[in-house]
C-alpha cells in the first residue's frame, strides 16, 4: 500500500507543479492547494503505515500500547491543514481582488504594477 500511496503523492505533486507553472492565477491557486495536500501526505507517510489503530488510549488503560499510528505527525499535519486553509483563503481572496481590480487572470500581465 505504501508504494501505491507514494505514487499517488507523486501524481499530486506532479499535477500541482504543472498547475503552479501555468500563466493563470486561478490555476496557480489550484496547484497550490494540491501541493499543500500532497505535503501533508508526505509527513503522514513518514513513520510508516499502521492500519486501524488510532492513537487513542482506551478506557481503563493509562498508556497507549503499541501498535498505534504515530500521533506526532498527525499533530503536525493537523496544524498544517489549518494553516494551509488560512494561506489558501487569503490567496484566493487576493486573486479575486486582482481579477476584480485589474481585470486579468494572467500572471504575466501583472508585471510592473508598482511603476
Amino acid at each position: 500500500m505504501m508504494v501505491l500511496l507514494a505514487f499517488l503523492v507523486g501524481v499530486l505533486v506532479g499535477v500541482g507543479v504543472y498547475l503552479v507553472l501555468q500563466g493563470s492565477l486561478a490555476r496557480f491557486l489550484l496547484g497550490l492547494a494540491l501541493l499543500s495536500n500532497a505535503a501533508n501526505l508526505v509527513v503522514f507517510l513518514s513513520p510508516g503505515l499502521v492500519r486501524g489503530h488510532s492513537p487513542i488510549i482506551p478506557l481503563g488503560a493509562k498508556v497507549l500500547e503499541p501498535p498505534y499510528a504515530d500521533p506526532l505527525p498527525q499533530a503536525m499535519i493537523l496544524t498544517a491543514i489549518v494553516i494551509g486553509l488560512g494561506v489558501l483563503a487569503f490567496a484566493v481572496v487576493l486573486a479575486y481582488r486582482v481579477h476584480q481590480v485589474l481585470g486579468t487572470d494572467d500572471l504575466d500581465e501583472l508585471r510592473g504594477t508598482d511603476r
Partner: protein, 729 residues
C-alpha cells in the same frame, strides 16, 4: 575640535619615529643571529596563527616604512592643511602604515595575506581621497581591482604553499626547498601573479601612474617607498623556498626586464612630474624583480642596495614634486625651470635625491649601481640594466634637476614652501648621502642580514663606496653621460611612445564585464515568477534526484492492498488530472475537492480520525471559498500542454515518490511519540493523544497557529471590504 586638530596633526609623525627607534633596538639581536617571534592562536584547527616574525629582511622594510612614514606624516600635516579631508587622510594613512608593517612582519601565511589585502584597501581609500573627481575614483577603483585581483591568486598560491610545505608558519616554510614539489609550478605562478599585480609589473604596470591621483604624500609613501614594494618583498621572502629554478629565473627576469625598460622609457616621455616619477618607480620595481630573477649572491646584494637607495631618493623626489607644486603651482615638467633661487631648500633636497638617482658618488645610488653592474658583469643582462639605468638618469635630470636650473619661465611666480615641505625631502636626500658615505657600516648592519635572509644562507657581504678604477666604474660613468644624452633627446623619444596600452585594455575589460553583467542579469532576473519557480524546482531536482537515484531503495511490500483503498487512490489520481485539464473553473474546484476528500479517507483508514475530520471540514471550506471566487471568473483559456512544464511536473513528482520510498519508516532515532503515548493520560489526563499534543504539550504552537488564521481572515476581510476601482481608496 577642528582648530585643535590642525595643530595636533603635526605631532602624529612622532608615532612612526617611535616605531623606527623601537625596530632599531632589535638590530643587535638580529645581528647575533636571533629572530624575533610573536604568535597568538587564531584558527588552531587549521594550523593558522596570528603570528609575527622579524628577521633582517623584514627589519629593513620595517625601518623604511616607519622612517619614511614619519617624514610623510609631517609633510602631509602641512601639505594637506585646510584640505577638507585632512582628517580622513590621517586615519587612512595610519591604517595603511599598520597594515604595511603587519605585512612585512607577518610570520604566518594567512596573517600575511590579511595584511596584504588591507594595504590594497587602504590604498584604495587614499587614492580616492578626493572622491569628487571622477578621475580619482577611476584610479582608486583601478588600483583596487588590479591589486585585489592579484590578491586572489596570491591566496591560492599561499594555500598551496602551505599544503606543499605542511605548515602556514613562515619560519617552518623558509627552512624548506619546495622546488621539487609537484605543486611547485602552480605555487610559483600564483604567487608571482599576485606579486606582479601589487608591484605594478608588466602587464599590470598601468595602475601605478594612474594612482598619482592621490595626494602627493600618499604617492611618495605608498606608491614609491612601501606598498608597491610588497610584491618584491613577497618574491624575495620566498626566494629561499622557491627560487633558483629555470622557471623562476626565466619568469622574473623576463617580466622584470620588460617592466624596467618600459617603465623607464615611459617615465622619460611623460609630461606630468608625478607620472614621470611613477613610471620610474615602475621601472625600478621591474629592476628589483629582474635582480631577484637572476638570483645570484651578487644580484641579491644589488637588489637590497637598489631597494634601499630607491626608497630614499624616490620618496624625496615625490615630496619635492609636491613642494614644487605648492610653491610654483605647476605640474608639467616642461614648464618648470629656474626655481632654485626662489625655493633653495626644496632645490637642495631635489638635487641631492637626483644625485643619488643618477648614481653620483658618494651617494647610496652610486653604491647601488656599482653593485648592480658588478652582479651582471659578463652577461647579456647587463645590456638591459645599462639601458634602464641610462634612461633613469634622464628621468632624474628631468624630475630632480630641470625644475631648479636654467631659465625661469615667465609665468611662474614661485615662493619657498613651509618648512615641513622642504625638510622631508632634504632629510631623505641627506640620508642617501650619509648612507653612501657610511656604505661599509650600512652593509654590515642592514644589508648583510637582509641578503642572508633572501639568499637563505649566510652570504659574505662587504659593501664599499669606492671599488677602485675598474670596468664597472667606467660603465657607471658611461651611464651618466648616455643619460644626459637621453635627457636631451626626450623630445624625439616622446614621438616614439605608443598611442595606446594596457590602460585602454583595462577600460575595454571593465566595459565588457559591465555588458556581461547586464546581459546575464536581464537573462536571469526576467521578472516571471513562474520561471523563477521552474528554475528553483529544476535545479533542486538536479541536485537531489540524480544522487538519490543511486541510493539503494528497499521496496515496501505491495501486500495489504485492499481493493476499495486502491479504488480511492485511482479516483484521486483521476480527479487530480481532471483538475489540471478542466477548462471550467467550477468543475476544476469540484475535482480538487474530490482529491481532498480522498485524503480524508486515507487518514481514516490509517488510524487518524482527527485528521480525517479536520480534512473533511477544511476541504469543504476550501471548495466553498474557491467556488465563491471562481464563479465570478471566466472559463480558463485553452492552454497548450507545454512539454517542459509537464516534464518538470513529472520529474518533481517522481522525486517526491522516490523520497517517500527511501525514507518512510526509516527513523533512525527513538521516536518522541513514545513519550506522548506514555504521558498523555498520566500527565495531561487526555485519552486522545493527538489532541493532547496540540492543546497541552505543544499548546503555544497551537496558539501561534490560531494567530495566523486570524491574521489571514483579517487580511481577506480587509481585501474584500474595498470597493471596486482604485485599490488605494
Amino acid at each position: 575640535m577642528r582648530t585643535l586638530g590642525q595643530r595636533v596633526v603635526y605631532l602624529f609623525f612622532l608615532l612612526p619615529v617611535g616605531l623606527f627607534l623601537y625596530f632599531l633596538r632589535f638590530l643587535p639581536e638580529l645581528l647575533a643571529g636571533e629572530r624575533v617571534r610573536e604568535a597568538w592562536s587564531w584558527v588552531p584547527g587549521l594550523g593558522i596563527a596570528f603570528a609575527f616574525y622579524l628577521d633582517g629582511f623584514s627589519l629593513l622594510f620595517a625601518l623604511l616604512i616607519s622612517g619614511i612614514g614619519a617624514i610623510v606624516l609631517l609633510y602631509g600635516a602641512s601639505y594637506l592643511e585646510s584640505h577638507p579631508y585632512q582628517d580622513r587622510f590621517f586615519v587612512f594613512i595610519l591604517a595603511f602604515m599598520g597594515s604595511m608593517l603587519g605585512l612585512v612582519l607577518a610570520g604566518d601565511l594567512i596573517t600575511l595575506f590579511v595584511f596584504w589585502e588591507l594595504t590594497s584597501l587602504t590604498s584604495f581609500l587614499l587614492v580616492g581621497l578626493e572622491h569628487e573627481r571622477p578621475s580619482a575614483r577611476r584610479a582608486a577603483l583601478q588600483a583596487l581591482f588590479v591589486t585585489v585581483f592579484g590578491g586572489l591568486f596570491l591566496l591560492g598560491g599561499l594555500v598551496l604553499l602551505a599544503l606543499a610545505g605542511g605548515s602556514y608558519s613562515l619560519e617552518a616554510l623558509l627552512a624548506q626547498d619546495l622546488t621539487e614539489h609537484p605543486y611547485y609550478l602552480p605555487i610559483l605562478l600564483l604567487l608571482a601573479l599576485g606579486a606582479f599585480a601589487k608591484s605594478a609589473q608588466f602587464p599590470f604596470h598601468f595602475w601605478l601612474p594612474n594612482a598619482m591621483e592621490a595626494p602627493t604624500p600618499v604617492s611618495a609613501y605608498l606608491h614609491s617607498a612601501t606598498m608597491v614594494k610588497a610584491g618584491v618583498y613577497l618574491l624575495a621572502r620566498f626566494h629561499p623556498v622557491l627560487g633558483g629554478t629555470e622557471v623562476w629565473h626565466g619568469l622574473l627576469t623576463a617580466v622584470g626586464g620588460v617592466t624596467m625598460l618600459l617603465g623607464a622609457f615611459s617615465a622619460l616621455t611623460s609630461q606630468e612630474i608625478k607620472r614621470v616619477l611613477a613610471y620610474s618607480t615602475v621601472s625600478v620595481l621591474g629592476l628589483l624583480t629582474f635582480l631577484l630573477g637572476v638570483g645570484s649572491e651578487g644580484a641579491i646584494k644589488a637588489m637590497v642596495l637598489v631597494l634601499l637607495a630607491h626608497a630614499l631618493y624616490k620618496g624625496a623626489l615625490f615630496l619635492v614634486a609636491g613642494s614644487v607644486d605648492h610653491g610654483a603651482r605647476e605640474k608639467k615638467v616642461e614648464n618648470l625651470g629656474g626655481l632654485a633661487g626662489a625655493m633653495p631648500w626644496t632645490a637642495l633636497g631635489g638635487l641631492l635625491a637626483a644625485a643619488s638617482m643618477v648614481g653620483l658618488p658618494p651617494t647610496m645610488g652610486f653604491v647601488a649601481k656599482e653593485f648592480l653592474y658588478k652582479a651582471l658583469e659578463g652577461t647579456l643582462l647587463l645590456v638591459a640594466a645599462f639601458l634602464t639605468s641610462l634612461l633613469l638618469v634622464g628621468v632624474a635630470l628631468l624630475a630632480g634637476v630641470k625644475p631648479f636650473v636654467g631659465k625661469k619661465p615667465a609665468h611662474l611666480s614661485p615662493h619657498e614652501s613651509p618648512w615641513p615641505l622642504w625638510s622631508g625631502p632634504l632629510v631623505l636626500g641627506l640620508a642617501g648621502l650619509v648612507l653612501g658615505l657610511g656604505a661599509s657600516e650600512v652593509g654590515r648592519l642592514l644589508v648583510a642580514p637582509a641578503v642572508a635572509d633572501v639568499a637563505g644562507r649566510e652570504v659574505p657581504v662587504r659593501v664599499y663606496l669606492w671599488g677602485g678604477l675598474n670596468p664597472v666604474l667606467f660603465l657607471s660613468l658611461a651611464t651618466v653621460l648616455a643619460g644626459v644624452g637621453a635627457f636631451s633627446l626626450r623630445g624625439s623619444l616622446r614621438r616614439l611612445s605608443l598611442p595606446w596600452g594596457a590602460d585602454q585594455a583595462y577600460d575595454r575589460l571593465i566595459l565588457g564585464l559591465e555588458r556581461l553583467a547586464k546581459w546575464q542579469t536581464t537573462l536571469l532576473q526576467h521578472g516571471y515568477v513562474r520561471l523563477y519557480t521552474a528554475t528553483v524546482l529544476g535545479a533542486g531536482l538536479l541536485v537531489t534526484l540524480l544522487p538519490a537515484l543511486r541510493l539503494p531503495v528497499e521496496w515496501p511490500s505491495f501486500g495489504g492492498v485492499r481493493p476499495y483503498e486502491a479504488l480511492v487512490l485511482l479516483l484521486m489520481a483521476v480527479a487530480a488530472f481532471y483538475t489540471a485539464r478542466s477548462r471550467s473553473p467550477i468543475f476544476a474546484v469540484v475535482a480538487l475537492g474530490l482529491v481532498g476528500y480522498g485524503i480524508a479517507l486515507i487518514y481514516l483508514f490509517y488510524g487518524a480520525p482527527d485528521l480525517a475530520m479536520t480534512q473533511l471540514l477544511v476541504e469543504t471550506l476550501t471548495v466553498l471559498v474557491f467556488a465563491f471566487v471562481f464563479a465570478a471568473m471566466p472559463r480558463f483559456a485553452k492552454e497548450k500542454t507545454v512539454p517542459w512544464k509537464a516534464l518538470l511536473g513529472v520529474g518533481v513528482g517522481m522525486a517526491v515518490t522516490w523520497g517517500i520510498l527511501l525514507t518512510s519508516g526509516q527513523a533512525k532515532l527513538p521516536p518522541v511519540s513514545q513519550f506522548f503515548a506514555e504521558e498523555s493520560y498520566v500527565s495531561a489526563f487526555g485519552r486522545n493523544v493527538v489532541n493532547v499534543i496540540l492543546v497541552d504539550f505543544r499548546a503555544l504552537d497551537t496558539l501561534g497557529e490560531v494567530v495566523v488564521l486570524v491574521l489571514a481572515g483579517l487580511g481577506a476581510f480587509a481585501l474584500l471590504r474595498r470597493k471596486n476601482g482604485n485599490p488605494r481608496t
